[in-house]
């Protein structure tokens, strides 16, 4: 009999593998005892109990791999070594082989990975059948699609309430669940805030402001742009509010919506008041998202912050109207809300006279194209037109970053911004993004700033700047 004790310093292996290795060694013909383990004090004790030479393991510590074999001869020891190497060498598992056809419906897709969320972006007329199937098979549903008849939305949401499943949408652009962004969403640092929002870019703007202030958002449950209408009656918003109130990992709740129907707003406020956690409500038209974010920080006992901005002095721009070119519907609405007291009436259609703030995410401009957050072609055209239009003094536009959005919007916009600025127009950008976003927010901001645009993280601040520039020149 030969006994061999070896120490392999700093060699890590998981326990499954080490047990397999021990077993493999013991199975070698002619091996009478074998031990493969990390050299912890207790395992060294075991080595002694098995009658091996403890001196051979002198100095070994818990991060070292211990190998002990007792066998008939050297040849068998060598065979044991081969068995050990074999057991500890990583091998690739052979892949399955049988190629199953791709699932055809969201329900069958969910079966292949045990999904609990169905994310639908099929044409609106077909979304109902897919969503119903998902609810029937126990999945929460996010409907990115728009143009779903409201009576179908009501059926889905009532059914969701009945089954304890959340229906996010239709027309739900953004959600974050445990940090995973669905649709258009920004990369968030970890944090205690839970959000409910009937507005995609509203959620994104609030996420970006809070992230900039050092506050993380764990969940942002989109409910779709029609949820707070009188017909739908906030079915999903109330459900999401309750879920966040029950969630031990959420400390503070934020509710965001475009202007809701009055009786629905009252119900949401009553539900918020009944929550055990603080709830900050931002209804567009009552206050800005920046004001809402400030309220969140105050509730958390944090002092006010100045949100990131990359300003440029554009005082001597040419006089003229403000032309707002938006990709985010809520950002457009907020900009109007902020600017109207300063500028007076602001049109929402391209043919309107005077100041116009257009939502290029509207169906009218997205026929046959991706959303302007992805495909900027239409907005770049309009930017060039505004630059050439001498009645325009200030161009205000949003740039939305994050998952789902254009991979490098600044590089596409810079040439046209440079032309606009050299033509005498002022350009103000509302940049909605976080430091963690894949586009690298700060690099995007600097590129836009170098092209001559003044860049603001807060959409309200960008809007104010645009109005200030416009009024300073007309009054001068």
């Amino acid at each position: 009999m030969i006994s061999r004790v070896e120490i392999h310093p700093g060699r890590y292996h998981d326990s499954v593998r080490l047990m397999q290795a021990s077993k493999a060694l013991q199975d070698v013909e002619g091996v009478s005892d074998a031990l493969v383990a990390m050299a912890t004090e207790l395992n060294l004790g075991l080595l002694g109990d098995m009658g091996f030479d403890m001196n051979a393991a002198a100095g070994a510590g818990p991060n070292d791999l211990l190998l002990a074999v007792r066998a008939e001869d050297e040849e068998i020891i060598a065979a044991a070594h081969r068995a050990l190497d074999d057991a500890l060498t990583h091998k690739v598992a052979p892949s399955g082989g049988l190629d199953a056809p791709a699932p055809k419906t969201v329900g069958s897709a969910a079966k292949t990975n045990g999904a609990n969320v169905a994310l639908l972006s099929v044409p609106g007329e077909h979304a109902f059948v897919e969503a119903k199937e998902a609810l029937d098979s126990g999945q929460h549903v996010m409907i990115f699609s728009d143009n779903v008849p409201v009576e179908q939305e009501i059926i889905l949401k009532n059914y969701g309430v009945e089954k304890g499943l959340l229906v996010m949408g239709p027309d739900c652009g953004t959600a974050i669940i445990n940090g995973l962004g669905l649709g258009f969403a920004n990369a968030m640092q970890p944090g205690p805030v839970g959000m409910v929002g009937a507005s995609g870019t509203g959620i994104q703007q609030m996420c970006c402001l809070l992230d900039d202030a050092g506050v993380g958002v764990r969940h942002a449950l989109g409910t779709g742009s029609h949820d707070l209408s009188e017909e739908v009656g906030a079915l999903s918003t109330l459900q999401a509010l309750q879920a966040l109130d029950d969630d031990p990992s959420t400390d503070l709740i934020v509710v965001i919506s475009k202007p809701p129907a009055a009786p629905v707003a009252a119900r949401v406020r009553a539900a918020a008041a009944a929550c055990s956690k603080p709830v900050v409500i931002t209804f567009m038209g009552e206050n800005t998202l920046e004001e809402g974010a400030g309220e969140v920080l105050a509730t958390m006992g944090m002092s006010e912050v100045t949100y990131a901005s990359w300003p440029v002095d554009q005082q001597d721009h040419r006089p003229g109207f403000v032309r707002g070119l938006f990709a985010g519907g809520t950002l457009r609405s907020e900009a109007r809300f902020v600017c109207m007291p300063l500028l007076g009436e602001i049109g929402t259609k391209e043919e309107d006279p005077g100041h116009t703030f257009i939502d290029y995410g509207d169906d009218e401009y997205t026929q046959g194209r991706a959303h302007p957050m992805i495909d900027q072609t239409v907005r770049i055209d309009r930017l060039a037109e505004a630059a050439a239009d001498t009645s325009v003094g200030v161009i205000l536009m949003d740039v939305v970053l994050g998952y789902g959005a254009n991979a490098d919007p600044a590089t596409e916009l810079v040439p046209e911004i440079e032309k606009a600025v050299s033509a005498g127009a002022a350009v103000v950008v509302s940049l909605c993004g976080t430091k963690g976003d894949p586009q690298n927010r700060d690099a995007q901001a600097r590129a836009l700033q170098q092209a001559g645009a003044s860049v603001w993280l807060s959409n309200a601040a960008a809007s104010l700047e645009a109005a200030r520039l416009a009024t300073s020149r007309t009054s001068a």
Partner: protein
């Protein structure tokens, strides 16, 4: 053997970029300015890195999320870790881990410390009823007695007899202790047992040093996490289920499937700690 042209060398060395989900417990280490780390070991499922005196593990999607870990979306069948070598020096920081030919970007975070709802001792007793609190090779009698009595000395003594016991990177004795410590820490809070919370917090520092001395650095890292209430994802799910969020039987089964001995030992340690807390309440101790 021919030497590849410079252009080709560059192409061959272009890193494979993969996204990863990281534990918030390593937010500091991963988000800070870059630092160097050493590859302690690799397998098809994981790469263990020594970052200063702590271990961070990068693992595939088909392995368990650990409190000191980063999980990739790719599974072990993609064999990504073949390009990482034991002993190599790698870089970590700015939200990235550069593992030789593999660039891991942290895209999201998960919290390994489960937030637990408030629970009563009776409800907790109901939740853990019938679950095993022992594993064959671990004699936890003295640990149980020490936890019931709230005795720091007793806890240290019994931990000494279990640390490093068993094969593998995380010996079974360590897993049992980690389960017991994390459950004590988190459930004491959920039960409002402030005295127990203070006791376990007080004994954490000497326990952590003891673990450093008596077991693998990797396992000691997990015990440090457990003392802060940070656990592997399925262990957190079981604790949440104890407090009424989730199915206890299903979560327990899922935890048992983790590792070879790790899951059962963690689960048993957690159940034992829950029983000890309930026992200490009924022994008349108040918060």
């Amino acid at each position: 053997m021919t030497v590849p042209a410079a252009e080709e060398t560059k192409r061959l060395q272009a890193p494979v970029r993969v996204p990863g989900v990281a534990s918030t417990a390593i937010y500091g280490a991963v988000s800070a300015a870059g630092t160097q780390a050493t590859v302690l070991g690799t397998s098809g499922h994981a790469v263990w890195l020594l970052v200063e005196d702590k271990v961070i593990v990068v693992s595939t999607s088909d392995s368990t999320r650990l409190p000191n870990g980063v999980q990739l979306a790719a599974g072990s069948s993609s064999d990504l870790f073949r390009m990482v070598h034991h002993g190599a020096t790698v870089e970590i920081g700015h939200g990235r881990i550069m593992l030789e030919g593999l660039a891991v970007t942290i895209t999201r975070w998960w919290d390994p410390r489960p937030a637990l709802a408030v629970i009563s001792p009776a409800k907790l007793a109901e939740a853990v009823a019938g679950l095993p609190s022992a594993v064959p090779d671990i004699d936890a009698g003295s640990l149980r007695a020490a936890l019931v009595a709230g005795s720091p000395g007793g806890i240290l003594l019994s931990a000494r007899s279990l640390l490093g016991k068993g094969p593998g990177l995380t010996p079974e004795g360590d897993d049992y202790l980690a389960g017991a410590f994390a459950a004590t820490r988190l459930l004491a809070e959920a039960l409002g047992r402030d005295r127990t919370t203070a006791m376990i917090a007080g004994v954490s520092v000497p326990l952590a040093s003891l673990a450093d001395a008596r077991t693998t650095t990797f396992s000691a890292s997990l015990i440090h996490s457990a003392l802060r209430g940070q656990v592997a994802e399925p262990a957190g799910a079981l604790l949440r289920a104890f407090t009424g969020r989730g199915d206890v039987a299903l979560s327990h089964e899922a935890l048992l499937r983790v590792g070879h001995t790790s899951g059962p030992a963690l689960a048993a340690g957690m159940v034992m700690a829950a029983q000890s807390l309930i026992q200490s309440v009924s022994n008349g101790g108040t918060a």
